[in-house]
């Protein structure tokens, strides 16, 4: 299973490296979202700063929808999904591999966006370790639930509109917990972030488990 996961993850990341769709489209999209939030709330720093953590994670969430759609658009061309099914790879491995690839892309995106909020909103970056841990756990959680919904909506005629409707409400706890953990990290207050980090971890584990179990039946008839 882990070997298959590594193979699929490597394949997806290679496709991304060669096509650069994420870099050329998703990252600029996220930057545009940050700019638009600035226009909506700015230019006063005092109104932007308290909202910065929330805006950052909203931008991540919206970009995650695109990353997930991309992850399955890759498979729909040239009957890639049939290829995956015929390849004899473990479905759980395919799920974990695709999830890991999406999570890795989200992590890169978050790194870029962190610079973005630091520059555009003037956020003083601090508590780097907590911020990094939040990014890691949140990315894994978003990728896990996102890849399941990605395959749920893949191959359907209305997938572009269906995926955000399914994905965004489920990701609400991630948005909440990640925002609060970031706020705690940025303000350097106490150990509140432990609650939020553990919530993110629970979310990631629960949905990774559901995805691992459910991916087989989902893939076999998609």
């Amino acid at each position: 299973m882990w070997h298959d996961a590594a193979l699929v993850c490597r394949k997806d990341l290679l496709i991304e490296l060669r096509s650069r769709v994420g870099l050329n489209q998703v990252v600029p999209f996220a930057a545009a979202v940050l700019l638009l939030f600035g226009l909506a709330l700015g230019p006063d720093r005092r109104s932007l700063l308290p909202a910065a953590a929330g805006l950052f994670w909203i931008a991540v969430l919206l970009s995650a929808v695109l990353a997930i759609q991309r992850s399955f658009a890759v498979e729909s061309a040239d009957a890639g999904r049939d290829g995956l099914r015929l390849s004899g790879l473990d479905p759980a491995g395919i799920f974990l591999g695709k999830g890991a690839a999406v999570a890795a892309q989200l992590l890169v995106l978050e790194a870029v966006l962190t610079v973005g909020v630091a520059v555009l909103y003037g956020v003083p970056l601090g508590g780097g370790l907590v911020m990094a841990a939040t990014c890691l756990l949140a990315s894994v959680g978003l990728a896990a639930v996102g890849v399941v919904y990605g395959v749920v909506s893949s191959g359907l005629r209305v997938r572009e509109t269906l995926l955000p409707l399914l994905f965004l409400p489920v990701a609400a706890p991630v948005l909440l917990a990640a925002t609060k953990a970031w706020k705690a990290a940025l303000s350097g207050t106490g150990s509140q972030y432990w609650t939020w980090l553990s919530l993110l971890a629970v979310f990631a584990v629960v949905y990774a488990a559901i995805g691992t179990v459910a991916f087989g039946p989902l893939l076999e008839d998609s």
Binding site: G155, L166, A172
Partner: protein, 269 residues
């Protein structure tokens, strides 16, 4: 040339359901089952009317809440029915996902129950909002229960949207079942995260749990009647939605069969 002389080899094209016609229920909803459903409906509606009558005219005002307490006879029953419906949808979805108990009837039941659940979640939100406006002065507050209910509403609207997607019925059913599981698992996570969110950052302005209302005597019976009759209404509505879904599936199956038969008949001399 009538379509009666349909060659038997077109039979396998009918559909994926084993013994399709029988699973689809009765030829027409009539007979004893129909009488039972009608009785159920009459019982549910009578119960709801009685609850409203008792709640509005017979029961006394509450000490702390005045006339507003009358909303309490329908609001908790509605919320209860919503959770009952989602729980039922989850159970049928899990059974559908289990290969040994996979049956299109379970899928239709899950869909019918979730539909009724969404309606009652909407009603819960509306009645809760009215309650909030008059007691706390706001239409909305970020209380864990309220926020979770609102997210539930959106989650299951998404689930229903997924169910309506055109495509192979079995594929969509399987995906919808998994979406139902994912949505249901999200509910406790949302609830806990919102409670922490509230408790860590500001003292809860609204304590839904400790509303210090003592329900007794006739009020308790009215509330109980409300729970019972709204639950009956759930069952009644669900039976109807289930029948509609069955008929819709059968129409899709037999429509194809009839169309093929007609085309064949055209070709014959």
């Amino acid at each position: 040339m009538s379509t009666v002389s349909l060659p038997p080899r077109t039979k396998p094209a009918v559909g994926r359901e084993p013994a399709g016609g029988r699973l689809g229920g009765r030829r027409s909803p009539s007979g004893r089952a129909d009488v039972a459903v009608r009785a159920l409906g009459v019982l549910a509606l009578t119960g709801i009317v009685a609850t409203c009558w008792l709640g509005l005219f017979v029961t006394p005002e509450a000490v702390n809440f005045g006339n507003l307490v009358r909303l309490l006879y329908i609001h908790p029953p509605m919320a209860w029915v919503a959770f009952l419906a989602y729980g039922f949808a989850l159970a049928t979805s899990l059974l559908y996902l289990w290969p040994r108990t996979r049956d299109p009837r379970l899928d239709r039941l899950a869909g019918a129950s979730a539909e009724v659940g969404v309606v009652f979640t909407g009603l819960t939100l509306v009645t809760g909002s009215i309650w909030g406006r008059t007691t706390w002065g706001v239409w909305w507050t970020w209380d864990p229960l309220l926020t979770t209910t609102a997210l539930l509403f959106v989650l299951y609207v998404g689930y229903l949207a997924l169910r309506r997607v055109p495509g192979d019925r079995e594929t969509v059913a399987k995906r919808a079942a998994i979406a139902a599981v994912i949505a249901f698992v999200d509910v406790p996570i949302v609830y806990f995260s919102v409670s922490w969110w509230r408790s860590l950052h500001q003292a809860p302005t609204v304590d839904l749990a400790g509303r210090h209302l003592y329900v007794h005597g006739l009020m308790a019976w009215t509330l109980l009647l409300g729970f019972a009759s709204f639950s009956l209404a759930w069952a009644w509505l669900m039976v109807h939605r289930y029948r509609l879904a069955t008929l819709r599936d059968r129409e899709a199956d037999e429509g194809l069969e009839v169309a093929i038969a007609e085309r064949r008949a055209e070709g014959l001399p």
